[in-house]
Amino acid sequence: MARDFKLPDLGEGIHEGDILSVLVKVGDKIEEGQPILEIETDKATVEIPSPYTGTVENIAVNPGDVVQVGDVLMTFSVEGEREAPSEPAEEPRKAKAPPEPAEQAEEAEAPPEPAEKPEAVKVEREPEASEAAPSKKEGEAPSRREGPIPASPSTRRLARELGVDLHRVSPSGTGGRVSAEEVKAFAEQPKEAARAGEEAPTPKAPPSEKAAPSPPADWSKWGPVERQQLRSVRRATARQMSLAWSKIPHVGSQEIVDITKLEAFRKKHKDEIEAHGGRLTLTVLALKATVAALKKFPRFNASLDEETQEIVLKQYYHIGVAVDTKDGLLVPVVRDVDRKSITELSVELNEIGERTRDRKVSMEELKGGSFTITNIGPLGGTAFAPIINYPEVAILGLARARWQPEIVGDVESGEYVVEPRLMLPLMMSFDHRVLDGADAERFLLEIVSVLEDPDRFLMVI
């Protein structure tokens, strides 16, 4: 028979640790007491001895994993028995051995000895409706209970239908049993804003904006007011910006780029592009320059997976372009910018911009970007601090290019002139959890070097 080995209580109130090293491998024969793992806790490094004599059937952890007391670490087939263990659950934090272990002794017959249940795709057997974000509401008991929650089959089905995670329902029944009424009541609670948001990109709720309910605001006591309901784009923007701002430590970084030559280049080719049905704008050129920089600095084209503590580098280049519409700000995404020519991008950006302003763009087209550009230049502005389009990690803003007197040449040697040059302010906000100031500067300098020299532009796009 197979035996799962779970992380035992390590004492001293410690309930989790990092796997430092795995001292055995699958297939090894081990003795009871033999060290099999090293775990690092807050206090010390602990060697974990094997509780069984047998053969290692499966190792469910890797060095670097964080494990909790109770997580399955390894599975053994105990001496004399050669059979398959309950198929390993995936990572420790997701591991839950099913209540009926799936084992089959060599000669076992079908029932009553259950044959091995392939677990790789099969996750828990217990009624966890969803991996709901464990956000704690103020003043409530720990929101997740462990183990299978006692509830009748019809209640479990109801929970599934209503999308309720039984682990989060506080039961009043004897022995922790959850009733159908409790499930319904739980489902009817007002959902936290971001959890239900279409634009909120992850299922995790933001820190709850609903603290202890405060008395309704009354500004009319100071003078007449008009109330406008937050809806549609405005509401989505409010939600999305709150989320981004609260989650990401924003840092701003600025540069100025001389686009005199680029502008000449643009004017030169503008008509020919128009003949193809597109508009060659600065934004189009910025798209390409951005991708050139993203290729060189891939961590700007990424997201932070907080659950797994990983920076996810995207190997695609879908750039969102902020569009100001009469209903508010929308960000349609231009996909695979790296694979499209300037002509194609000019056509596509023009077309999608129009459709966005006409509110004819689909939900799908507003999703899936890996980076965003926002160009306020057509309207004006010298500088602004854009908010990152969460869950991206950086955003590039362009303000209005202006003719300014610039020093061209070398001041020290005396060989210089003062010329009118077309100067474009660039602003970048980045996520300081993932990127640092030096990275940001280098990234911006790359963009600067691409935009200020059309020859270099051609070479890198």
């Binding site: 028979m1 035996r3 799962d4 004399g80 398959a84 198929e87 051995a97 209540p99 009926e100 272990p101 799936a102 089959q104 002794a105 060599e106 000669e107 076992a108 017959e109 079908a110 029932p111 009553p112 000895e113 259950p114 044959a115 091995e116 249940k117 392939p118 677990e119 790789a120 795709v121 099969k122 996750v123 828990e124 057997r125 217990e126 009624p127 299978p148 006692p150 509830a151 009748s152 089959p153 479990r156 089905r157 599934r160 239908e161 004897t174 022995g175 922790g176 049993r177």
Partner: protein, 481 residues
């Protein structure tokens, strides 16, 4: 396209017409889907109906009658030895099968499920070739794999109809009643079929690979059965296996290793019942995204989805408890999920039954599992020698036990051995699914005098308020332990 090839389109293709398959097909049809059921046999029912559950229970019923008749002598009624008409037995057994199979065909028709006899081979994730069938191809939106399993053979011996080495299928055909029969196996098939042949007159030798029969059940449940089989079988040998088999004209020479003397013996027939293998190898699954593990079981999640988004799988082919009722429930889940319902296979208890005499039945946690998990439990037992009903049937060899969580008093597992255990386990399954506490079962009135009373009594013993058994100290302890 070849002349005469005929491709059909169906919304849902169910491959395999056993309990998993027909349950899924009927549920899907009831939910409004257009279903095609493909099965290799001419009628649905699968192994369960034709080569397993049903025929074996028919034969076991006869064995029970014969055993009861013989036993009645000790109570004052003596029957003469029965005469066995093997032909008639086969006829009756097959008639039972046919009646049920015809019933299933009828249900197919009434529900608009198209039944096609043939062998399905996947060409892609949305198309199957049908061999040995009038229809040559089926295109589908979704498919459910219900192809089941087949008896495992010993490494060196193949099952053939003319052979003296039988698997359960051949054994159920009752070709003859061998004078001597070697039964290899330790689970319910070996024990049930061995019992049938013993009842019909064979001298049965049972060899068990390890140290115990029915290893999935707790040892205390198998003890009464072991004692009875020691009387019924000629001999039982543990830690013994077959090394080689040599078929001769009228017998088989078997060389064994283990606790048996002599190690080389002659038997008229051998019955090999050492497990079952999933039928996943010749379905063309490599042309789909379905993943199979190294033992041949199809990988699924708790909604019965495989790694191919269009294909689901249920029953023996996915492993787990290889039982018809598990397959049926999974089949329904698959059908419901395909129909967009939030179903999932999240049962708390799957009952398992051994239909020997005495029967064994259990569900939920076993003591051994609890021990290996290091989980604290309290176990309470009620021996049937204290049960009025058991004594009135002269069937005192029995035991009902329950395993409780010592803190919450919730019932975690139940095991029964004795006559009619098959019926007693139903209450246990419901109790487990409902998350019942000892109190819930103890406070429910169990009719007197019945064997089901033993279940109520066990709960009362746990709570320290049993009537028929002296309470010892507090809950969980009794003189009956």
């Amino acid at each position: 396209m070849v002349m005469g090839e005929f491709t059909q389109e169906s919304e849902l293709l169910v491959v395999g017409g056993g309990p998993g398959g027909y349950a899924a097909a009927f549920r899907a049809a009831d939910l409004g889907w257009d279903v095609t059921l493909v099965e290799r046999d001419p009628k649905p029912g699968g192994v369960c109906l034709h080569r397993g559950c049903i025929p074996s229970k028919s034969l076991l019923h006869l064995s029970e009658i014969m055993a009861d008749a013989e036993h009645a002598a000790s109570m004052g009624v003596t029957f003469s030895k029965p005469s066995i008409d093997l032909e008639r037995i086969r006829e009756w057994k097959n008639a039972v099968n046919d009646r049920l199979a015809d019933g299933l065909l009828d249900l197919c028709e009434k529900r608009g499920v198209q039944y096609i006899q043939g062998r399905a081979v996947f060409e892609s994730s949305d198309q199957c070739r049908l061999l040995e069938s009038e229809v040559s191809r089926i295109k589908f939106k979704h498919a459910i794999l219900c192809t089941g399993s087949r008896p495992s053979s010993l490494p060196h011996v193949k099952f053939r109809e003319e052979s003296r080495v039988m698997d359960s299928t051949l054994a159920l055909n009752l070709q003859d009643i061998p004078e001597s029969l070697l039964v290899v196996g330790a689970g319910y098939v070996a024990l049930e079929m061995g019992s049938v042949y013993a009842a019909l007159g064979s001298k049965v030798t049972l060899i068990v690979h390890r140290d115990r029969m029915v290893r999935a059940a707790d040892p205390d449940l198998t003890v009464p059965l072991k004692r009875k089989l020691e009387e019924v079988f000629h001999s039982i040998h543990y830690n013994t296996k077959v090394a080689s088999v040599k078929e001769q004209k009228d017998s088989v020479e078997v060389t064994m290793e283990g606790e048996i003397e002599p190690s080389k013996q002659l038997f008229e027939r051998i019955l090999v019942a050492v497990g079952r293998d999933p039928n996943s190898n010749d379905l063309g699954l490599e042309n789909t995204r379905v993943k199979i593990n190294k033992r041949g079981y199809v990988q699924v999640d708790e909604q019965q989805r495989t790694t191919d988004p269009k294909i689901f799988a249920v029953g023996d082919v996915v492993g787990g408890y290889m039982l018809a009722h598990k397959a049926m429930h999974e089949g329904k889940v698959a059908a419901e999920v395909i129909a967009g319902q939030p179903s999932a296979f999240d049962v708390r208890a799957i009952p398992a039954i051994v239909y020997t005499n005495p029967q064994i039945a259990w569900c939920g946690l076993t003591e051994e599992q609890a021990r290996s998990e290091g989980r604290p439990i309290k176990v309470t037992r009620f021996p049937w020698k204290f049960s009025g009903r058991a004594l009135s049937m002269d069937a005192p060899q029995g035991l009902t036990k329950m395993i409780f969580d010592p803190d919450t008093q919730r019932i975690l597992g139940v095991g029964v051995v004795g006559r009619q255990s098959e019926g007693l386990i139903a209450e246990a399954v419901l109790a487990l699914e409902m998350g019942a506490l000892a109190e819930d079962v103890a406070l429910s009135i169990h009719a007197h005098p019945t064997l089901s009373e033993t279940e109520g009594e066990v709960a009362e013993i746990f709570l320290g308020r049993s009537t028929h058994v002296l309470p010892k100290k507090g809950p969980g302890q009794s003189s009956a332990d």
